[in-house]
Symmetry: C2
Subunit: 442 residues, 2 copies
């Protein structure tokens, strides 16, 4: 992982303005009322999975830790808040000293989640916790949506290689986070160099139709590519006639040709024809990469086709129909005074209209059946039942303001594979359904 500050925006020096204005005005009002320092617990959870989905995937936790650590107010940010009269002087003074000093527990990155799972639990004074709402939700809602789509696609791909190539279909920095989340969800590589730079995700890519069209003939383009990138390169064979292109490709590169890429047409049909042609030409080790508006259903439909790798763009970076999660950040408990020893009291919104929440500081555990397969997400307040003590899901992420749970991205990726394998088989069915295990409140 490249953490050097090279002036690139992917290396975030401050996250303090990724904040909705109301967090600052609430802070100001609470400071004046003397309630800002009441000990408080906020939790991130979702009331429902996206329609039809069987499980969610926690992604972005590592980015949340970076964001919390970098949540600082320098002179420029404070000057903006002052000029725009967003908060008053006492609040600006308070902000100038801001550094999160509380505790954060949460589901580790790559873990699966269900409705009601307390994905992140932030504990500290109201003032220090309330400011983190927007940036934590932005990261988790985006990254988890991409990881969930990636997980479905990787299940559908059944071990074949998956390349993330959606940078052009989403905001240029979402793209970097999307490549990261896709990797957590099971993708193998990305076309996005900023993601390779920032997160050391393997990068791939060779050529587009423009390269063929630049040259006077397809043969000239293929020759130029092989001359420069070697016989192991991937040649794009669908600019003109696919069969002709495959013939030319093997003629130039020989059986050592790395791969051919097909980016249009009936992929099932074309892949079969191309495989047969490659084999007849002796290029039995040349791989076939397909890339054309793929989603998890298209990937599954190509299971019987002679395809070696899938490149996925639009549908991956837009969450395959669900570009965001519905995670919220809610105050679930707070002390009645600013005395640090004052007990926490559960709180919850009571109004009608489907936005109820459950008060109290929560634990969560996944109960397994006799075969060791998950059978329920158990969420509770208070003591953890002894039989679930070893199955608890929340881990300590930040302790007294210090990040204590940094890990390589590969750890999150491996955790996701293991977590998904621990679910009932029906979790990876692509058909629409309910959450694959129920959430039980105890």
């Amino acid at each position: 992982m490249n953490t050097a500050d090279l002036g690139l925006p992917v290396d975030v020096p401050s996250t303090a303005l990724f904040t909705d204005q109301y967090e600052f005005t609430m802070l100001q009002a609470a400071l004046k009322a003397g309630t800002a320092e009441r000990r408080s617990v906020f939790e991130v959870f979702t009331r429902r999975l996206p329609e039809g989905r069987r499980y969610g995937v926690v992604a972005g936790t590592g980015r949340v830790l970076d964001a919390v650590e970098n949540f600082r107010f320098d002179a420029g940010v404070l000057g903006f808040l002052r000029e725009q009269h967003i908060v008053d002087e006492p609040t600006l003074q308070w902000l100038s000293r801001y550094r999160f000093s509380g505790d954060i527990w949460g589901y580790p990155e790559g873990e699966v989640y269900f409705p009601g799972s307390p994905i992140i639990r932030v504990e500290g004074t109201f003032a220090e916790c309330v400011l983190l709402e927007t940036v934590i939700l932005s990261i988790l809602n985006h990254d988890s949506a991409i990881a969930a789509a990636a997980s479905r696609m990787s299940a559908a791909a059944g071990g074949r290689r998956l390349i993330e190539m959606g940078a052009r279909r989403t905001h240029e920095l979402s793209a970097v986070a999307a490549a990261r989340a896709a990797y957590v969800g099971g993708f193998d590589s990305t076309s996005d160099l900023a993601a390779g730079f920032r997160y050391a995700i393997p990068t791939v890519g060779t050529s587009a139709h423009a390269f063929t069209l630049l040259h006077d003939s397809e043969r000239g383009a293929f020759q130029a590519q092989v001359d420069s990138l070697g016989r192991g390169t991937t040649l794009l064979v669908d600019t003109y006639d696919v069969a002709e292109a495959v013939r030319t490709a093997v003629d130039i590169a020989g059986p050592e040709l790395g791969a051919v890429r097909i980016d249009s047409g009936d992929l099932l049909l074309v892949a079969h024809r191309v495989r047969q042609q490659l084999d007849e030409l002796g290029a039995v080790d040349t791989k076939i990469v397909v890339t054309s508006d793929l989603d998890e259903y298209a990937i599954a439909s190509l299971a019987a086709a002679p395809v070696d790798a899938y490149g996925v763009g639009t549908q991956l970076v837009t969450g395959s129909g669900h570009p965001t999660c519905s995670m919220v950040y809610k105050l679930v408990a707070r002390a009645r005074s600013t005395d640090p020893g004052a007990p926490l009291e559960p709180v919850a919104k009571k109004s009608l209209g489907g936005k109820m929440s459950v008060g109290g500081r929560k634990w969560a555990a996944r109960r397994l059946d006799a075969e060791g397969i998950a059978e329920a997400e158990v969420v509770g307040v208070g003591e953890v039942p002894a039989e679930l003590a070893e199955r608890q899901l929340l881990v300590e992420l930040v302790k007294g303001g210090d990040v204590v749970a940094r890990e390589p991205l590969d750890a999150a990726r491996a955790r996701h594979t293991a977590a998904r394998e621990g679910l009932p088989m029906s979790a990876i069915q692509l058909s629409r359904g309910e959450a694959v295990i129920p959430t039980e409140y105890v």
Copy 2:
């Protein structure tokens, strides 16, 4: 607009890695083949609008200009490309001197577009143009998707105020771009402070349910908020019982109470009740703000309700069902030699499978009917017919590498309003349909 470099990632110092790897490998192969310096024309266009949509909205153009200007390779980026063996030494040498020196024309920001509209036209050497593909598409595909949703919502709101508050539902930097695009599409303000900081978009926000729950009573919370933020503030009235909250709110703030916000329940019903209650309490000037999973349809359905402002989150920043556009960046013409005087020849992909494109360097104009209303998007290669000369859509954005078309965001916003008003009335129908005017190729 705040352009000071305060170390915030929203102020992008280099955009050179927001690039798919294949752009670099194509560059390397073309440099070796001697074709890299062939004069080339790339165009951004879309083959179709999102299903059911009547028009598209160009947004992000200003960000594209920033990205092109900042597309530079410093030692850190070059070191990464070298270490990862992404390109060879001659290519790294070439990149170290990179500065786009060509010309860019395009639809001005806020303009509407249709299938085939040449939204951006980039002209220069193949080498300098090919590298810009991903970053240009990322920006336009994201920002235009948000602006299109914003435009539909602003048409549905019929002059009532619209607040963008979706930061928590999308990547933290997408959020900043989304607030900007929403403003172009007709929104009035944003909750996102980074967007206020970077683009001087008006920011708003007062309090969340957590603020009420922090305090020992709703009355205590309202009193604290009014004490700190004044009687003109907006009180959130749906934490417990709405009618009780409205009574308490007016009791504390008096008829000078700025607004009440309703964030749950049957908004149509609740808004009517709250308006009646406010009027009976004498708070006839107190506004009603509604915020709860709104989209353009929900906004339209509240047209007859006594609502003064809409806060829109999820559905705005996810493009209301269409989180990305399908814009592509295609080589449409190139010279057959590197002689700067060599004529441009049209090129186009010929393979079957629905990804056809039209070769040649294009102009576009919008033909009007006798009433001055748009009746066709006319796209052509070669001479512009005299009767359309005054209706051309592309303007010069970059000349010889220098940005020549920077403008305030308000100019793009005003342009969008005017462009939408120039379309047939059916453009702003929310029902699904075809593009409101046809694209004619001449």
